[in-house]
């Protein structure tokens, strides 16, 4: 459902169509506007961050956990170890250094994460899923850099596809703390920064309520209804009084995103 949805051919100079994944990525890139530095997870976050550097935020400093600082790839990196990340970087450092001197020291503005499961307080599970009493736990890839990215950046953005499988009432395992059990929990746990400030999906954008820290649907992508989003969410999702509709992808955004993806693929 997520990747194949396309918008109708646009009028008034809008592109002829886009996928819901493109909507998600374009909005994720826009969320990086104004950031100076971004610690980039591989996959969807990397696509969005690279798009941002070619559109909303050309000065954005991309930092990858493989040790590259200020990478300026001309195509999407195929993995976190892509040589292009190193070749185009301002500095390349060891993995311990990137985590200790750069991330842990609190000098990165935005941490950009994907997730397998998210709960209403933007906590993340990427470790194991409960598949019922008669079946063994299902194995996910594990924590990677996420716990410390979420703990040490100025704020956290998340990008993932929207479904009841991903947006769950209760996490089977808390790999990475977003807002914990609610307001004050980050401070109590000694976590730096504001934590997750936006969860960008293929349907819209959720942001934490300033009072309760619970995720609220604040933005809908063009053509998506609040009911659709609520149906794709595993808890009783709150909807902002007057959710805004995100601007459709511009021609430049779409063209850039597609060019980045094509370049990435052809380099394979």
């Amino acid at each position: 459902m997520t990747t194949d949805a396309t918008a109708p051919a646009g009028a008034s100079g809008a592109p002829a169509g886009w996928t819901s994944d493109e909507l998600m990525t374009v909005n994720a890139a826009r969320a990086l506007s104004g950031a100076r530095t971004c610690f980039v997870g591989i996959g969807l976050p990397s696509t969005a961050a690279n798009l941002a550097r070619h559109t909303a935020n050309p000065e954005l400093v991309l930092i990858y956990e493989s040790g590259t600082i200020g990478s300026k790839p001309t195509r999407l990196p195929l993995s976190i170890g892509d040589g292009e990340l190193a070749d185009t970087a301002d500095a390349v450092v060891s993995v311990p250094e990137i985590f200790n001197y750069w991330l842990q020291a609190g000098r990165i503005d935005v941490g950009f994460l994907g997730a397998a499961q998210v709960d209403r307080f933007a906590n993340i599970n990427t470790t194991v899923v409960d598949r019922g009493p008669d079946r063994p736990e299902g194995r996910l890839p594990g924590a990677g850099g996420a716990p410390e990215i979420a703990a040490n950046c100025g704020r956290v953005l998340m990008v993932l596809r929207h479904s009841t499988r991903n947006f769950v009432r209760k996490l089977d395992f808390t790999t990475t703390v977003g807002h914990g059990a609610g307001p004050g929990d980050r401070e109590r746990l000694g976590l730096r920064g504001a934590g997750p400030t936006a969860v960008i999906t293929d349907l819209g954008i959720l942001r934490p309520d300033p009072e309760t820290a619970e995720l609220v649907l604040t933005d809908l992508h063009p053509g998506v209804t609040a009911e659709q989003v609520r149906a794709a969410t595993g808890w009783d999702l709150r909807v902002a009084a007057d959710p805004v509709t995100t601007a459709p992808p511009s021609e430049a955004e779409l063209a850039t995103l597609r060019a980045l993806k094509t370049a990435g693929r052809s380099a394979a």
């Binding site: 493989s66 311990p96 299902g138 924590a143 716990p147």
Partner: protein
């Protein structure tokens, strides 16, 4: 100074049943050829350590040689799951797999402690995460100056660390460059160090973004061009993305995996 050996001899001499073995390389310079030689020699009951198990550990796990995995992220980068790893964890095939699971920052600092001769390292990490509930290698310490409580992770000191590098000289001094990951720490934390290299040169010229391991901290060097395939070796080869993608259907199926193992590792024509 390190001895220059064949891969077959070096693996036989340095790696033994029951060892704790770290094969490192953060996506770049992954020592695939050495891992395949371990499979051919059937060295078993291993505790494998690696931040990102990747396809290389999927193969060792599927081959039934691994009793425990110490790691922080286990996927096929850019493709999906590691199905042999999942099959071992979820179904105990071909044998149960014990896990010691960390975050990247925790694993990196465990190697740092090991390389530094310290029993533990301190970091701002694991706070509020359930990770600490499943391992006995995460604890806490209190800062004696500020009273702040921080995470402590136990040092990693593998019996053997295996890495792949671009170059060695004839004295066994090793240079790698580009993304050098956690390789220096993993090597210096280990009791024995095996390095496979693309090339043996007369003189190691210092490279930008290069690190050098002097021969006296390396136990053996083996000349294995292409020893990191299908991963990258900056300056020598790019990633074989097709091989990573092709791994997915192979690893999803036990029989397909066993056939792959026979054809490509046991009966293959890899450098040894």
């Amino acid at each position: 100074m390190a001895e220059i050996r064949t891969l077959r001899d070096a693996v036989a001499e340095l790696i033994h049943d029951g060892d704790t073995v770290a094969m490192e390389g953060f996506t770049h310079l992954i020592p695939f050829a050495a891992a395949h030689e371990v499979i051919r020699q059937g060295i078993t009951d291993l505790t494998l350590v690696r931040m990102t198990p990747d396809v290389v550990y999927d193969q060792l796990i599927g081959a039934g040689l691994v009793k425990k995995l110490v790691f922080s992220w286990g996927g096929n980068p850019g493709v999906g799951s590691l199905h042999r790893f999942r099959d071992a964890v979820e179904n105990g095939w071909p044998r149960p797999l014990e896990l010691d699971e960390h975050s990247h920052a925790g694993m990196a600092n465990r190697y740092v402690a090991g390389a530094s001769g310290l029993p533990f390292a301190v970091l701002r990490g694991y706070r509020g995460s359930d990770l600490a509930t499943r391992t006995d290698t995460v604890s806490t310490v209190t800062c004696p100056f500020t009273g702040e409580e921080l995470a402590a992770v136990r040092a990693l000191n593998p019996d053997v660390t295996v890495i792949h590098a671009q170059q060695a000289d004839r004295e066994g001094n090793v240079q790698l460059w580009g993304l050098t990951g956690v390789q220096k720490e993993a090597a210096l934390a280990a009791k024995r160090v095996l390095v496979t290299v693309e090339e043996i040169v007369d003189v190691l010229e210092p490279r930008p973004r290069g690190i050098v391991l002097p021969g006296w901290v390396v136990t053996a060097v083996a000349h294995v061009p292409g020893g990191a395939h299908p991963s990258y070796a900056a300056g020598y080869s790019v990633r074989d993305n097709d091989a990573y993608a092709a791994w997915d259907p192979v690893s999803r199926d036990r029989d397909a995996f066993l056939a792959w193992l026979k054809d490509n590792v046991h009966d293959g024509s890899e450098p040894r």
